[in-house]
Structures are given as structure tokens and as C-alpha cells.
């Protein structure tokens, strides 16, 4: 296998800061996933109860049609932004070593 001939890092070389990177990543992912699911499934589940007026729309209808998709856009944008910063921080740390 061509893959096996490549030089890959040994597991033992993985430093504490790298573990930090991954757990930080998991924390961000969980928070954003929770937000995504509550905007989607939470609001939809209680759609009948959330039918109060919202600029003409019933609120649950507006959430399904515009609010939730807009929240997804923000989630994805925020993740890209946060991870770019995390990547940069890790890169700086590595250079400092």
C-alpha cells in the first residue's frame, strides 16, 4: 500500500496542546449542533403553540421559512471563523515551541 510507505507522525508525539485543539473543536461543534437542533426540531415540535403574530407571519411559520435557515447560515459562518482562529493559535504555539 502506498499509504504505508509515507512517514506519518507517531501517536506518542501528539502533545497536550493538540489534544486541547481537538477538545476545543468538539466543544464548539456540540454547542452549535445544539443550537441547530433546537432551532429546527425544538421550534417545529412546538409550532402550534408558537403561532403568535410576527410581522404578519405566525412565528413558527416564519422560523421555518426564514429564521431557521438564517440561523444555519450564522452557525456555519461562526464555525469557519472560530476554527480559523483556533488554527492560527495552534500554529503560533507550534512556532513558539
Amino acid at each position: 500500500m502506498a499509504f504505508c510507505t509515507r512517514k506519518l507522525p507517531d501517536m506518542r508525539q501528539i502533545t497536550v496542546s493538540r489534544r486541547g485543539y481537538w477538545s476545543q473543536n468538539l466543544r464548539i461543534i456540540s454547542a452549535l449542533l445544539l443550537l441547530c437542533c433546537s432551532a429546527t426540531f425544538g421550534v417545529s415540535y412546538f409550532a402550534r403553540d408558537m403561532s403568535f403574530h410576527f410581522f404578519g407571519w405566525p412565528f413558527s411559520f416564519w422560523m421555518g421559512a426564514q429564521g431557521a435557515p438564517a440561523i444555519y447560515c450564522l452557525i456555519v459562518w461562526f464555525y469557519a471563523h472560530a476554527m480559523r482562529r483556533l488554527d492560527a493559535a495552534q500554529e503560533r504555539e507550534r512556532e513558539a515551541d
Partner: protein, 707 residues
Amino acid sequence: MHPDWPASPSKAGAEAATGPAFKRELNRVYAMYTCSFVLFVAALAALEQMGLPRQWIGFTFLLGTTGLYAAIGIMCRTSDPVEYYVAGRRVPAVYNGMATGADWMSAASFIGMAGTLYLTGYAGLAFIMGWTSGYCLVALFLAPYLRKFGQFTIPDFLSERYGGKLPRVVAIIATILCSFAYVIPQLYGVGLITSRLIGVPFELGVFLGLGGILVCSFLGGMRAVTWTQVAQYIVLIVAYLIPVVWLSVKQTGNPIPQVAYGYQLEKLSAVEKVLSKDPGELEVRELFRERSVALERKMANPEAALAADRAAAIQRIEELKADTAHASELAGAERSLAALPNEVSAAVQVWAVAKSVADNKAQALNGMPAHATPFAGDPQGDAEARQAFDVSRRNFLALIFCLMIGTAALPHLLVRYYTVPSVQEARESVSWSLFFIFLLYFTAPALAVLVKYEVFTHLVGTPFDQLPAWVAAWSKVDPGLLSVADMNKDGILQLNEMSIGGDIVVLATPEIAGLPYVVSGLVAAGGLAAALSTADGLLLTIANSLSHDVYYKMIDPNASTARRVALSKMLLMLVALAAAYVAAQKPADIVFLVSAAFSFAAAAFFPALTLGIFWKRATGIAASLGMLAGLATTTYYMAVTQPWMRSVFGITEPIRLWWEIQPISAGLFGVLLGFIVIVLVSLVTPKPDARSQRLVEYVRYPNQKET
């Protein structure tokens, strides 16, 4: 260049090709392109005012746009594998976002979605939320890691991560299954639009559209497809927005339909209340109810009813033969005799379908639910109403779940994230993709409401002899899409006297709103762009899977790159012809094929891909079994519950739904079972080897270099 893992183009080359100069050049080219497109439409609009016939406008749009896509294909022709399979991995995030938008938004999104919203109201929002929320999963769980892995296909990743041939074989089968199921609706959409636009038969339309696809992907692979898709995105978004903005200005004076339609929705709900009490409507509904009762009586005693029908038809022909004054009706009467089924069982089937149509039309608002009300039934009502509410809500949530997971697992979409230069750009690219998709998706509900308001307040109540010309024109394309019949003979169109198919709502919007024909042509061109771009991506995925995964990785690992690309091109042609052949047969259920593609993809790929990245303990055998279990469960559930699949497999026992979940969400069970199987089997099989674990480490850290 030998594409070993981790495969990345030479660093210097990649930086030069993705640098600011390259982006500036792209910006310049696409800005010029957009301007010329706008000028092209404006010129046609001017020519229409000067009396250019409609047929010509349609023809110019068809030739102009497909010719353009083909030209991009020719300019981007390549036989270099990195260019052919992943567009050289130098597509900037914004452009990959646009290409993904076009790749993703299919005929179902462009043509079908607003129609579904029109017909089902709130229930249709499941498609909006499901198809957009899937991108959260793509961004959080898949795109960055697949880009870091940096190979060519999804089976590539699964087989490297899990080792051995089995995961690759299962992944190849699933890729082909869901991509093929998804490409047929696209070609159906192409046929529908072409036949309306230039008046050719449906089958010919399918093959004409196919020509445009083939020139593009055949010559240039992913590179040509990517740059064409960017061009197609621009066409389709312009085409989608213009009629809605126009309609919004016409109805509300506000040029931003997404803001304006809240109050239109309020007015629509008021009109709905009036229409459901209208005496004309009540009369028509009563007639349909009587028809339904009559059909039920026939079905109670089918032999006698069929004999009576036949006797009546023969008697009618005899009468017409004797009375020469009505000779013109004779042919019609003979046709209706010939159309009577010979078998009693066939007759019962025909009557059952007719009865369900009549039952639907006996309800208020032509069987459509009130637009703004979530779910059927009533949580405060009697037991039956509570049950209906519960089931309707459960199915709504299940459908969102399936579409969400399916979005994050469709191979043709995921491979797009192999084409960007870096992991950071992959994450950003998802955010651009979602933004470009959002532009269309948050407009679709506005379109549905505005069109519905137009139909309910202007079209309904029109005398039959003054109906606009488009009604007859669309009935001619396919009476299943639009038909009107004066049931109560009052000479006025009632809502329940019109049957409209969801597939024409968007295409007919310009005509419904009374816009110039050039806008109709523009919308058709947009629909064509949506269908062609998705078909492009899907066909390429199938062909690459066959040539790269099956031939190169499994049959002949020493095949030269030129040979692999040549083979891929040949396979592309064959797959495209096969798909066009199937689409030209008009297979029964288009919506079902779309949902089936999502369910298959969700069940087969999502558990194996995400666990492969996020759980080092997931083993190869477990992943293969999980994928197979997911696929098998999904297929089984569809086969025993979905009417069309039941007829294919000849299943006659009564439908038994699991927890009342509709077959459209069959993937739900497959995904859950897939996760359970992978976790349980992994725990009882030996740990994956060090190589797989190192691969997981490698894809998790974007900064980690290969040495």
C-alpha cells in the same frame, strides 16, 4: 503525478494558482459574464416588444444558455486526473460555494419546492429546513476532514479509513444507487422544461438537454463542471428572483418579497376562510362527494358495474351512429369504450384512484390545508384529531431529519469539498454554499404565498371562456400538471374545479402574474440550469466511482492516468444514456425518487463517515455491516410501504407503517440502525490497526503536515 494519499498538488503551484491574481481574474470573467447575461435578457425583452414570436424566444434561451455551458466545457477540456476529478484543487471558497449551490439545487429545489409549499403550506417547510440544516452537519462533521484527507471520492475515504475491499464495495454500490435515483428526476425536469420551452416532445427534450450536459462534463470533468456550475448558479438565481420581485411589487408595492409576504400570508388566510364557505365551491364539493359515493358503490359490486359501464358505452356509440348530427363525438365515445379496463381487478384499481381524487376535491380548498397552520388535526380536539396532529407532527420532524442527514451524505455534494485549496477554505466554502442556497430557499415560501394569493383572488372566479392562454398551454403539455373542468356548469372557475401539479407552479409564475413572455423563458432557462448542473455533478460522480473506485482501485491498479480518464469519459456517456432512457419512460413517482436518493445516502454514508472521523474505535467490519444494515432497512421499508415500490416488487399484503412514519422518511430507520450496528459491532471486534488511527489523527488536525 501519482495520486497517493495524502495527495496535494505541489505547494508552489497551488499557491500561484489560488493567489489573489487568479481570484481577480475569476471576478472579472464572471462579472463580465453576468453583465452579458443581463444584456442578453434585456435584448430579448426589447425584441419581444417588437414582435418576436414566443417560440423564437424559447429557442434563443435554450440555445443561448446550453451553448454557453458547452463552450465553457470546451474551454476547460482536460485529461489530467487532478483537474478531471477535483478541478485541480484550486477553486476559491466563494466560487466553490456557488458551484455547490448549483450542484445542490436541483430541479426539485428550483421547480418543485415552491410548488410543494403551494400545495401543502407549512408542511412544505420541512424541505426548506431539512435541506438547509444539512449544511450545518456538512460544515461541522464532514467537509474540513474530507478536504484534509484530500483524495478523489467518498469510497476512497471509507476504504482508507476502514481498510479492505468491503467498505469500498458497499460505498460504491450506495454511491451509484443514490446518484442514479437522483439523476432521473433531473432529466425528467430537463424534459419537462424543454418540451414547454420549444414545444418538442418530452422524450426528445430529455435527449436534447443531455447533449448540453455531455459536452460539458465529458470534455472537462470536474474542472468544466465547476466553472459551468458557477455560470449556471448566476442564471438560476436571477431567473428565480426576478418574477418573485415583480409579483411582490405588483401585489404589495414592496420590491423585497421576503419582507413583504408576511402580510400577504395574513390576507391569504382570510381569503381561504371566504373560499371554504363560498356557495359555488360548496356546490362543486358536493358534486365530487356524490362522485365518490358512486365510485364506492361500483367498487362494492365491480363485475356488474363494469358490465353496466360497457353496455352504456356501447349504447352511446349506437346512438351517435344513428344520429349523424353528432358524428364528431363518435371517435371520443369509441375511445372511452376502448379505455374501459378488461379485467375487473384493473377496473377496481382505476376506480380507487378516481375515488381518492374525488375525496380530495370534496374537501375545502381543493384538499389543500390552510397555508399558515402547522400540522393536521387538533391537539385539543377528540381522540382522532389528537392522533392526526401527533402523526402529522412526527412525520414532519422525521422528514426534516432524513433530508438533513441525506444532505450531509450525498456523495456528489461532498466531493465538491475536495476541490478547494485548503481546510480553512473548505469550512468557508460551506458557509458560502449555504448563503447562496439560502438566497433561493428563503424566497421559495414567498413565491408560494404570492402565487397562491394571485390564483385565489384573480384566477378563481374567472369565467371559463376568459381563462388566460397559459391554462390551455400547460394542459396541452400534460393534463396531469394542469386541468380545469366546469363541474357545476355555472361557467365560472371554482378553486376545486382546477387541478394543479406542484411541478408547474414556478414555471408558470410569470404567466400567472401576467409578465412578458421573456420572463417565462428566463425562468425556464433557470430551471434548466438547476437541473443540468445537478445532473452534471451526479453523472460525473457515478462515472468517477466506476472508473476510479472500481477499475483503478480494484481491477487494474497499474492503469495509466490517461487510460483512467478516458475510461471515465466513456462510462459517463453510458451512464448518461441509461439515465436518459429511464427518465424518458416517465417513471411513476418523481418526488419519491428524490426522497429515496436522500434516504439511501443518509442511511449508507452518514453513520460510517461521521463515526470514522469522530470515533477511532469504529472498525472496518462494523462500518461495512452498518452501511449494509442501513441500506437494507431503508430499502425494505420503502419496498413494503411505498405504492410504486410495492408494485415493482409485487407486494400485495396491507401496508403496515412503523410508528406511522411515511415511506418518504424511510431513511430515518436506516440511519438509526446504521449507528447502532456500527457502535455495537465495533465494540466486539478488535481495535482498528495503527494505520487507521493515524489517518484519523491526520484528518483531525489541519496544520499537521504529512511528514
